[in-house]
């Protein structure tokens, strides 16, 4: 008896399977499930653009409507990846234009996107609806104009923290009068002025506009008139909040804010003057997300604001909030799920002394839903980490950045090993961890022993020896992304645990003690990995024992990439010629 379900039935069942992790599992069951799943997958996530070729993706998923791609390694955010390393969007866009012209959504993170790419998108995808670029670079406002003019059904255009060559604010005027479908517009990272009249026209003919994030150049006055045109906004990113307004203008703006009945998310607030904070009071009770990380507001004003935000789930703020402010958050924001505290100064020396480990302890005590934490702080203690782990075993993401490298527990002068032990032991569902402060190999033994659900781990200036890496690679079963800088291990642990690397998405190591010879050996042993040696100051002759600057290792089905700059070496490159001589089909 044939027990196979007809594919129509399977299709129907799979239409309820949304998450890609589940879909990946479904595709592994058997051939017919693989086939049915691939023919019905609409949203494709490629988390390393070099892990697979564009052609392979297009071939496998003919019904793809949404593509998400990530390019450079995470440490590129901190200037550790040299310019020109790679992550080019063009090959993907070119391939999809030919093979998946029905593509509607493109979401790119840490990729190089040129104006040519944007023009190609505009010209090739007739049903294009959403372009979301996060931490991307390489394009100008001309490219945006191309998108604006051609994409008749555009719903989302979001530029999040991109580096854009700003050739002027005219691009906004290229949206045709017939475009009324806009749901989300984010140009907060652009430097220059946009014409207010263009913006007002666009907003007034976009009844579905739910999310609007302005750039710094949009004045408070302009904000007022925009809010009056779009009281239905759910997400608002203001422009600069510091012009001097007369009394009448202030009360009109205040009125505009009270009309925002649907507002859930607020950001922007650059240069906000303390006297304008009360303008926001009316929207506070409805807010679930508040980004004050660019607002140089002092603690008392922050407390006044946050004590009104009883439904807040996500708070990003600077260390100006101080421990006292976080205590107020702890007592007012019981729904808090995510907290990020950024430093107000860029250097170790400039950290706000009134923000200590105590602030985080208070929040962990009082906010039962707290799951995700990013905390920059001058110093920390094991006691605080133990307390936080005890208070919040449900933490999923802990990123602690003790600003001074090698800083020990400031009360006991001990390493922070025991503190992080408590975190990985207590928070059994921990998926992401960044460690800092003084740490010995013991800390990594604990992480290897207890961090079984850990998927992403970031380490800097820690450990004593190869044991550290060995503990992690042999212990952390779910490890997917590992990034390490300035840690004193060498070749042994890496080579002994080479097989582990095929189960991970990527491994980044910079300023560690790995030798060139080990990289060659690893490349030979593991053909399914790309072992990239990134060396901007290579020695003229490269003996096997010479240490390498940076290594980026990732699993791939695509083989060596063809777009490597001269400072990236892989085994496929002939060192004398310096050019890859291996072609890919």
């Amino acid at each position: 008896m044939d027990l196979r379900l007809p594919s129509k039935v399977l299709e129907h069942i799979f239409s309820f399977v949304d998450s890609n992790e589940d879909r990946n599992s479904v595709s592994l069951v058997c051939k017919s499930w693989f086939e049915t799943e691939r023919l019905t997958r609409k949203r494709v996530f490629v988390r390393n653009c070099y892990a697979v070729t564009p052609a392979a993706v297009a071939r496998r998923f003919p019904e793809m409507r949404s593509l998400t791609l990530k390019g450079k390694p995470h440490f590129a955010d901190y200037n550790l990846v040299p310019d020109g390393w790679g992550g080019y969007a063009w090959p993907w866009i070119e391939a999809m234009a030919e093979k998946s012209p029905a593509l509607e959504e493109l979401r790119l993170k840490r990729m190089v996107v040129t104006d040519e790419c944007l023009e190609k998108i505009a010209a090739s995808f007739k049903e294009f609806k959403a372009l979301v670029l996060t931490s991307c670079e390489g394009f100008s406002t001309d490219g945006l104009a191309a998108i604006a003019v051609a994409c008749r059904n555009l719903r989302e255009l979001e530029l999040r923290e991109c580096i854009v060559e700003d050739l002027g604010g005219d691009w906004l005027s290229y949206f045709p009068e017939t475009l009324t479908s806009l749901v989300s517009l984010d140009f907060s990272c652009l430097d220059s002025e946009v014409k207010l009249s263009d913006l007002e026209l666009l907003v007034s003919r976009s009844p579905n506009l739910k999310s609007l994030k302005l750039n710094r150049d949009v004045s408070l006055d302009a904000l007022g008139s925009l809010l009056r045109l779009a009281p239905q906004l759910v997400e608002l990113g203001t422009g600069s909040f510091s012009d001097k307004l007369d009394q009448e203008a202030v009360s009109k703006l205040s009125q505009a804010f009270t009309e925002l009945k649907e507002l859930k998310s607020l950001s922007g607030l650059w240069d906000v003057l303390p006297e304008y904070i009360p303008l926001l009071y009316s929207v506070c009770p409805g807010l679930t997300s508040l980004n004050l990380s660019y607002a140089t507001v002092q603690m008392p004003d922050l407390v006044e604001l946050l004590s009104r935000c009883s439904n807040l789930q996500k708070l990003w703020v600077m260390d100006l909030i101080e421990d006292k402010g976080l205590e107020a958050v702890a007592s007012s924001c019981k729904e808090l799920r995510e907290l990020r505290v950024f430093p107000s100064g860029a250097d170790v020396d400039e950290t706000n002394v009134a923000l200590t480990e105590q602030g985080l302890v208070s929040v962990s005590e009082a906010c039962p839903n707290l799951e995700s934490v990013l905390y920059f702080c001058a110093q920390f203690t094991n006691e605080a980490l133990v307390t936080i782990a005890r208070n919040r075993p449900n933490l999923k993401c802990v990123r602690l950045c003790v600003m001074e490298p090698f800083a020990p527990d400031h009360k006991t002068q001990q390493p922070l090993d025991e503190g992080f032990k408590a975190i990985v032991e207590g928070c059994k569902g921990l998926q992401r961890l960044s460690v800092s402060g003084l740490l010995t190999d013991k800390a990594f033994e604990y992480i290897g022993t207890h961090g079984k659900k850990l998927r992403m781990l970031s380490i800097a200036f820690a450990g004593d020896s190869d044991l550290m890496l060995h503990h992690l690679l042999s212990g952390c079963e779910s490890l997917n992304k590992l990034e390490i800088r300035d840690c004193p291990f060498g070749d042994t642990a890496l080579l002994e645990n080479a097989a582990k690397l095929e189960t991970m998405r990527s491994l980044w190591m910079s300023s560690c003690g790995v030798s060139f010879g080990a990289c060659k050996l690893l490349s030979q042993k593991m053909p399914k990995l790309n072992v990239e040696v990134i060396d901007e100051h290579p020695l003229k002759t490269r003996p096997d024992s010479s240490p390498v600057e940076k290594i980026y290792i990732y699993r791939t089905l695509a083989g060596p990439r063809l777009d490597m700059p001269e400072f990236v070496w892989t085994i496929h490159k002939n060192p004398e010629i310096g050019v890859s001589n291996l072609a890919i089909e």
């Binding site: 955010d77 901190y78 200037n79 550790l80 040299p82 931490s135 923290e161 990272c189 510091s242 001097k244 240069d271 003057l273 990380s293 660019y294 140089t296 002092q298 100006l320 950024f342 430093p343 100064g345 860029a346 250097d347 170790v348 020396d349 400039e350 950290t351 706000n352 002394v353 200590t356 105590q358 920059f376 001058a378 950045c401 600003m403 490298p405 090698f406 800083a407 009360k411 390493p415 003084l438 010995t440 190999d441 013991k442 033994e445 800097a460 020896s465 044991l467 060995h470 300035d486 291990f489 060498g490 042994t492 642990a493 003690g513 901007e536 100051h537 003996p543 024992s545 010479s546 240490p547």
Partner: protein, 273 residues
């Protein structure tokens, strides 16, 4: 002194032969532990590699030389020969006992101005987008456009000799020197004996009543500022409005260090060649 060398898990080494204990601060003259005394089952190839480290002159720790080198920006991609490249950031001997966190930085020595800090690329891990945004925010605030007074806050950093960290003050919230000085006094009174930063709130309660102004009046500390030309001057000689426009940083210095500082803008020319 390298803390980590003392805390090595010797058992770990014994059970995993072939994993070598590395002297992290090997070439630093701060290390008082003789690496040859550590149990080292070192295969020959590893020995060779550590020798080769020395041969290629790649430093693992603090260079021997003093201030001039410390003032350069190590982390940024300035033209450097491979020989001078540092694998690890600068780390002077940390004197944990005294808790003087500024051991991380170069000491001023005979300079009147604080020595420039060594930069490490990508540390602290703040996105360059955020760094650029914050930097332009500060410059927008401090470079006041003519005819637009009172635009935004005027944050300047205030540091104090012996205090572990800086504070920031908004000069716009003060109207005169007296106002500023009493605010600073409140902020820094707990730092006078240099221990407060470590103990936080509890430390403040335990502190004695010694006040900053007593020390100031006793000429132990003076208030100085860095103007927009980068010169360090004594606070108080120019009119308040001019001070707020030209002040970039404040520093509470020990009286003895401030000898020779230009007392006012007029006197500045005396010190220039």
């Amino acid at each position: 002194m390298s803390y980590r060398l003392l805390s090595v898990d010797k058992e770990g080494l014994a059970t995993s032969p072939g994993l070598k204990e590395r002297n992290y601060l090997g070439l630093s003259d701060c290390s008082s532990v003789d690496s040859s005394t550590l149990p080292n089952a070192v295969p020959d190839s590893d020995k060779k590699s550590s020798l080769n480290f020395k041969a290629t002159e790649l430093r693992l720790g603090l260079p021997d030389s003093q201030s001039p080198q410390r003032e350069t920006d190590f982390g940024l991609l300035s033209p450097r020969t491979p020989d001078e490249k540092l694998l690890f950031p600068l780390l002077p001997c940390k004197d944990h006992a005294s808790g003087n966190k500024r051991g991380y930085l170069a000491k001023s020595g005979s300079n009147n101005a604080p020595a420039a800090k060594a930069q490490v690329v990508g540390w602290p891990p703040i996105r360059s987008y955020r760094k650029n945004t914050m930097a332009s925010s500060t410059s927008k605030n401090t470079n006041e456009v003519d005819g637009k007074p009172g635009l935004g806050a005027l944050f300047v950093k205030v540091s104090m000799d012996g205090a572990p960290y800086l504070r920031k003050v908004d000069l716009r919230t003060y109207t005169c020197y007296q106002h500023l000085s009493s605010a600073l006094e409140k902020m820094f009174s707990c730092f006078t004996l240099g221990q407060c930063g470590l103990h936080g709130a509890h430390g403040r309660e335990r502190m004695s009543e010694v006040k900053l102004k007593d020390l100031l009046h006793g000429s132990e500390f003076v208030l100085t500022y860095e103007d927009k030309d980068g010169d360090w001057m004594l606070v108080g000689d120019v009119p308040w409005e001019i001070f707020t426009e030209t002040c970039r940083k404040l520093k509470i210095m020990k009286g003895s260090d401030s000898i020779g500082l230009a007392p006012s803008a007029v006197e500045k020319s005396k010190y220039k060649d």
